[in-house]
């Protein structure tokens, strides 16, 4: 299969019509589509899947409801028609598939999957294919179970890691898908068909040729026992299958609930932070209210400061003058006392008449008389300064500003936490966490039941095999002595018995061969892609899991994320070689875990992995300047997914 074009209308983020042409011209077989996260890369992959299989997959390969594939803006504008048109070439024929989703008649505003109807048309070489044959035709071109190896996202690469782990339900499912890709179902179905035909022939043989005889009675009895045993086996298998399906469903629910628990814890943490921010905002509001009556001071702060400086200077001056006056008064008193006593008041030395006369001379007492006045001035200035300091002692302006900032910051925080809580709540709509305990108990009970049923099924299978052998021997012995029409049936029984044994034993033979081919091919790819060139290669297990062997053929038990990705890509390539390949390889975000050297190795090899390669990548994993040079000669077309709004993207050719 080689893709020609994909046209999407109102499909997920693609409002209106958008088209991509996938060109292959000579060596140029790679189409690169760039898009940042959440722009619509996986939606493009899903557009392909939906066109082919009418199915859209989300994370962990979960089906997305049809109502969610309708573009939100289109729905808002009451344009409810979604369409995907895919053209491709397969074995020389041109195909066109158009899948359409539209509201059922009488539904005005579709809100649920039941409100939509889906239709699909297909043309081969321009000629319409009957509606009832479309699914079968697609299954012949690229069966859905095989498509996972050609239309896959990076997440799927991680899934293959499970193949090397112990057998799990998931690894069994992947193994089954791999065997489907490799053609094992043809032999499995052949075995079932031959067994069914053998069973019918044996029944007919018994009816026609051996009624009434002793041998016939024994045969009939054995046949009845065999049929009863088969019915019981079918009943047990149905119970097992139903319990397994329920356990899987519960497992999915539990995964969601565990995730929801994590989300709820984050919501509660956000609520606590929001409460703290609310308390901080209330404090800021209260402080702002306290400061409001003093706000007028902020307006005269500069005048107050200037006046305070003036008064401080005046007070300093007046205090100096008061000090000088006090000192003069002390000196005058000492002179008068010394002149009166005739000796120095300090050292008691006798004074001459002239000296005493000089001391009696009056001092300049201009300050003496002003002492009280100056003291009053100093006291007045001190009071004024104290009042001014009270008024201008706190910086009201900066305090108000600080309270405003705190209020704004807290308000932003509250809104931020509220938005985060809304976003987290939207992730777990209608989740009832109280179900967690009940579901866990139910799942554990189912797992015990499944274990018990597995044992019973194995025992019943052994019983069926034993009865079948006994019956075969009886029929074959009887067939030896028959003639005419009965002999004809006997020949058919013999031929079918031989075919039954051949098909039974061929299945394991084929699996062995395929594992060998996949291992050799994957090893060759791995050695080409890995930067650890001394590794001996890969070894396959019975679930198609691949283990790395080092240069001494020892198991490399600890593998990096990048190594896992290289092994997974090698497995894809090995499977592609063993199955003949689907022709096209569409990879969504495949380089996420690779370092630069591995990325270069993989890029260099990608164009050779399939006839056509479509890469859906973001700039972070595949730089246009640094990485694309490795495949420049192979790039046939390049596109970019551009964001128009949170709900709309468009595809532009580069």
């Amino acid at each position: 299969m080689i893709l020609r074009s994909l046209r999407l209308k109102n499909f997920m983020p693609y409002r209106g019509e958008h088209k991509i042409d996938f060109r292959v011209a000579g060596n140029r077989n790679v189409t690169v589509i760039y898009g940042d996260n959440m722009r619509g890369k996986t939606s493009l992959l899903n557009g392909l899947r939906w066109a082919l299989y009418g199915e859209v997959l989300g994370r962990h390969l979960k089906k997305i409801p049809l109502r969610d594939i309708l573009n939100k803006d289109a729905a808002h504008e009451r344009d409810f028609v979604v369409q995907a048109g895919l053209t491709f070439e397969h074995r020389g024929s041109e195909y066109e598939i158009v899948r359409t989703l539209r509201p059922k008649s009488l539904i005005d505003t579709p809100r649920d999957d039941d409100h939509f109807e889906e239709s699909c048309t297909m043309r081969r070489q321009g000629v319409p294919v009957s509606a009832h044959l479309i699914e079968s035709e697609i299954n012949h071109i690229l069966p859905e179970s095989i498509a996972r190896f050609s239309l896959f996202d990076g997440e799927l690469l991680q899934e293959y890691e499970q193949l090397v782990a112990d057998a799990t339900e998931q690894s069994d499912k992947i193994r089954d898908a791999i065997e489907k890709a490799l053609g094992v179902p043809a032999l499995l179905n052949g075995r079932a068909h031959v067994a069914e035909l053998l069973h019918r022939a044996q029944k007919q043989f018994t009816k026609e040729g051996l009624k009434g005889s002793q041998h016939g009675k024994l045969e009939q009895q054995t046949q009845t026992e065999l049929e009863d045993a088969r019915r019981e086996l079918s009943r047990l298998q149905e119970l097992h299958s139903s319990a397994t399906a329920e356990a899987e469903e519960i497992g999915d629910k539990l995964t969601n609930l565990s995730r929801a628990e994590g989300v709820k814890a984050r919501i509660e943490e956000s609520q606590r932070q929001r409460e703290r921010a609310t308390a901080a905002r209330d404090r800021a509001l209260s402080r702002r209210r306290e400061l409001a009556p003093k706000a007028w001071l902020a307006l005269i702060t500069s005048s107050l400061m200037a006046r305070r400086e003036e008064v401080e200077l005046e007070l300093g001056d007046a205090s100096s003058r008061l000090q000088a006056i006090s000192e003069n008064r002390v000196v005058a008193r000492l002179r008068a006392e010394s002149a009166s006593a005739g000796k120095c008041g300090i050292c008691a030395q006798a004074l001459s008449e002239e000296a005493a006369a000089a001391l009696r001379e009056p001092m300049d007492d201009s300050g003496h008389t002003s002492f009280d006045h100056v003291a009053n001035v100093v006291a007045e200035l001190s009071r004024n300064l104290s009042r001014l300091r009270t008024l201008g002692g706190t910086d009201v302006r900066s305090e108000i500003t600080q309270a405003e900032r705190e209020f704004d910051r807290s308000t932003v925080d509250i809104n931020r936490f509220q938005a985060r809580e809304d976003e987290l709540l939207a992730q777990i709509p209608g989740v009832d966490l109280s179900e967690l305990g009940r579901l866990t108990e139910r799942r554990d009970s189912l797992q015990r039941e499944i274990g018990r049923q597995t044992t019973l099924i194995a025992a019943q299978q052994t019983k069926c095999t034993s009865l079948q052998k006994k019956y075969d021997v009886l029929v074959n012995n009887a067939a030896g002595g028959q003639h005419g029409a009965t002999q004809q049936i006997a020949l058919k029984v013999r031929l079918l018995s031989a075919l039954s044994e051949i098909f039974e034993k061929s299945i394991e033979n084929l699996r062995h061969k395929l594992r060998d081919v996949v291992e050799k091919s994957a090893t060759a790819t791995f050695k080409r892609l890995t930067t650890e060139k001394h590794y001996r290669g890969l070894v396959i297990n019975d679930r198609y899991g691949l283990e790395i062997r080092d240069h001494l053929d020892r198991l490399v038990s600890v593998r990096s994320a990048g190594a896992e990705q290289i092994v997974a890509l090698s497995l894809i390539d090995g499977l592609s070689h063993a199955s003949g390949g689907a022709g096209v390889l569409v990879m969504d975000t495949p380089f996420g875990r690779l370092d630069l050297k591995h990325r270069a190795e993989v890029l260099g090899y990608l164009p050779k992995m399939a006839q056509q390669v479509v890469l859906l990548v973001h700039e972070g994993e595949l730089s246009k300047d640094r990485d694309l040079v490795h495949i420049n000669d192979y790039v046939a077309a390049s596109y970019e997914i551009e964001r128009l709004s949170p709900t709309q993207s468009t595809i532009e050719k580069r």
């Binding site: 489907k180 490799l182 043809a186 052949g190 031959v194 061929s506 033979n509």
Partner: protein, 63 residues
């Protein structure tokens, strides 16, 4: 490619068992099974295989 492996597996087992089943019959049955491997309804494949076996028996009788 996988088709070749399947036929080879059938022929190898047939040879090991020394079963009287011709290559041609194995090849035809396998072709039917491969064509209908992914059909939801397997009745068509079952009928076609039955018809191949009846034809084989008739051809054997004539011979």
């Amino acid at each position: 490619v996988a088709d070749d492996y399947a036929l080879r597996a059938l022929v190898e087992v047939r040879d090991q068992l020394n079963a009287p089943v011709p290559d041609d019959l194995l090849s035809r049955i396998l072709a039917v099974e491969q064509a209908h491997a992914f059909d939801e309804d397997q009745d068509v494949a079952l009928r076609e295989v039955d018809s191949l076996i009846d034809n084989q028996l008739r051809a054997g009788q004539k011979a």
